[in-house]
Amino acid sequence: MLRIHLTVLYLILCCSLLDRPLHGEQLDTQMEEIKQSLIELKRDLLILEEELLYPASSQVAVYLSMNVGDFFNLDSVTLKLNGKEVSHYLYTELQIDALYRGGVQRLFIGNVKQGSNRISAFFIGKGPNGREYKRAATAEFEKNFEPTFVELKISDSTAKYQPDFVVSVSS
């Protein structure tokens, strides 16, 4: 009900403001100013939303990157934070290609408590000789007041002829 009242109030006030006759040039200038204000407002809302939803003191962001995958064809990644699944992402061929070309994916952004935390990533795909492959990589980190960034890196280890899965944490 409150939403309906607010919408009606908004429409009435908009109509009353636009009711007054304006000269052409003045109207154009005002329209431009309103558009500029709208863009600034949108930008401010975006930053505010991020700061409210993911404040630096609890923010953790996980990024995935991939080296040329001769030894591993990625299918999906499951991410667990303190034992709870927070992300399960399936990759299409186009997305894999983008990763090969140097793309970095923001897999997850969320909030964790300060102190000790544990992140685990499970990589599923096809390994050498087309075998089904499932590997996990885990890291423990201390969450402090700064935003925490976790990098999941998949690369080929030519020494072992196997893919390498590394989790590194920076804050």
Binding site: R3, Y10, S37, L38, L41, L90, T92
Partner: protein
């Protein structure tokens, strides 16, 4: 005075945006179709947004649903007929178990991708109210038609909308 007016308009626009965003989340015509990625029975990961540029008929079904079984061969005919004109059918099995989905797909011999909604997340995303449900999405990824349930003869309506969207 002008600055004051601009501030008031700014506030009203913000209020309007807030009002609009807190209203219902049900998918309706003219909404952007929510994106998702699911695994197909062939083992391929398919993402809805990668079908931009094509008209897509997203069909939700279950193996226990009689009308779904009736509808599938008809959808397959439409898929085969208009595939080269930039049309695709993506069918989503809502049970999450590939075994009954594979059995029915083999029985009906459909040629379009059958995706498995493990976890029923996509069904929740699209807020299905009936089975089967079909959503027609245009080349820009906008929902243009929603059809709930199936009765013999409904495929004529699908065809009408598909042709209209292909011509755009």
């Amino acid at each position: 005075m002008n600055k004051c007016r601009i501030q008031i308009v700014k506030f009203l626009i913000y209020l309007g945006l807030v009002t609009l965003t807190v209203t219902s989340n049900a998918i309706t015509v003219q909404d952007d179709a929510p994106d998702f990625t699911l695994k197909s029975l062939q083992g391929e990961n398919l993402r809805l947004n990668e079908y931009r540029g094509r008209v897509v008929l997203l069909n939700f079904w279950a193996s226990w649903c009689g009308p779904c079984r009736q509808e599938m061969p008809l959808l397959d005919r439409i898929h085969k007929r208009y595939q080269d004109a930039g049309f695709a059918v993506l069918s989503v099995n809502v049970e999450g178990d590939p075994i009954p989905a594979r059995a029915l797909a083999q029985e009906t011999g459909v040629s379009f991708p059958v995706l498995i909604d493990s976890g029923q997340k996509i069904s929740e995303l699209y807020e299905l109210e009936a089975m089967p449900s079909s959503v027609l999405i245009d080349r820009d990824g906008v929902v243009r038609y929603i059809h709930r349930g199936y009765q013999p003869g409904d495929e004529a309506q699908y065809l009408k909308v598909v042709k209209q969207l292909i011509k755009e």
